[in-house]
Symmetry: C2
Subunit: 189 residues, 2 copies
């Protein structure tokens, strides 16, 4: 997606070897106009898939999922991180390792909001090692819902998540795939 790639080149910052900061428009400050273009593109890619629900994980994924959901006219469900006393215990759970934060987090979705009747599109901001996406896929499997595929805003193609998960048969559409960012120089695939 050309608009997104241009924005990454203009405003993203590369930190060290593998951290890409997109705080200016996606992960801290949010450009809602750009999100609308992203949502429209996900709809173009998945409009034939009869999606009836979008699944994401807090926090950054929520913005993208909600704007995208408007194009599909479907609700969003977001997986919660950690154990939340405000939600009952009847949950689908999965563990996610964050390489950025070097921590293991449990994510969960109430069993009320996913069922075998659902046809799910997973939406998330990043795909790198694939731990968050694997966790969401695992939750969809537990629920018996069908997984139509995943829509990712930025994939780090030089990390293994995308390859591994595509090989397992999951459709993944990434709007910008970064092949390398050595010395701060971002190259798209």
């Amino acid at each position: 997606m050309e608009l997104l790639k241009q924005r990454i080149l203009q405003q993203a910052n590369v930190i060290g070897k593998d951290i890409l900061k997109v705080d200016m428009f996606l992960n801290h400050q949010i450009d809602v106009n750009l999100l609308n273009a992203i949502g429209e593109e996900f709809f173009r890619l998945y409009s034939g898939s009869k999606i009836n629900k979008i699944l994401t994980v807090e926090a950054s994924g929520i913005a993208i999922a909600c704007i995208t959901a408007q194009y599909f006219s479907v609700p969003v469900v977001f997986a919660k991180k950690g154990i939340n006393s405000n939600v009952g215990q009847d949950l689908y759970c999965s563990d996610v390792f964050s390489f950025t934060k070097n921590t293991n987090t449990s994510i969960s979705v109430s069993k009320k909001y996913l069922s075998p009747d659902d046809n799910i599109l997973i939406i998330d901001d990043f795909l790198a090692n694939g731990s968050a996406l694997q966790g969401l896929i695992n939750i969809v499997k537990q629920s018996g819902a069908n997984l139509a595929g995943a829509g990712i805003v930025i994939e780090k193609g030089f990390q293994p998540g995308g390859t591994i998960i595509r090989r397992s048969g999951v459709r993944i559409e990434s709007l910008a795939i970064i092949e390398s960012m050595d010395n701060g120089n971002i190259v798209f695939g």
Copy 2:
């Protein structure tokens, strides 16, 4: 806001004396059509205020803030909880006590995304004891930005946050104010 009040009566659950679960449409599953009606109402209330940025806090606030931001054509900034190694240390910080979780959390916003030129609308899902809203107001004050006001989806009028913060001179518009929910019976103000 009648549509919202009806939805609360239909789908919210009262847990104990003071927890209102709106997981069905706002805090876990998200009804994006309802959020659009909410966003439109916030725009009606604040359309004369020349808002140039919406501030919220992760996670539930993000959905409401982003849908609302579309009506104002402005970006969203969301405060992050805890210390995040992926964001630099040049932050406005504030402490927030969660009565639901019985924990103290630090929230922060990068100094890059709030400035004295900004005219801020704070958006959040709940106002009860007011700790989260006070934390966001504190961050706006640190930045030197002007605070136009706050837009709250559900206020628990029987808890003190709204009264205390309005008394301090902050404009608060709450779309549904619950005066009591004794024995699970929700009464609006």
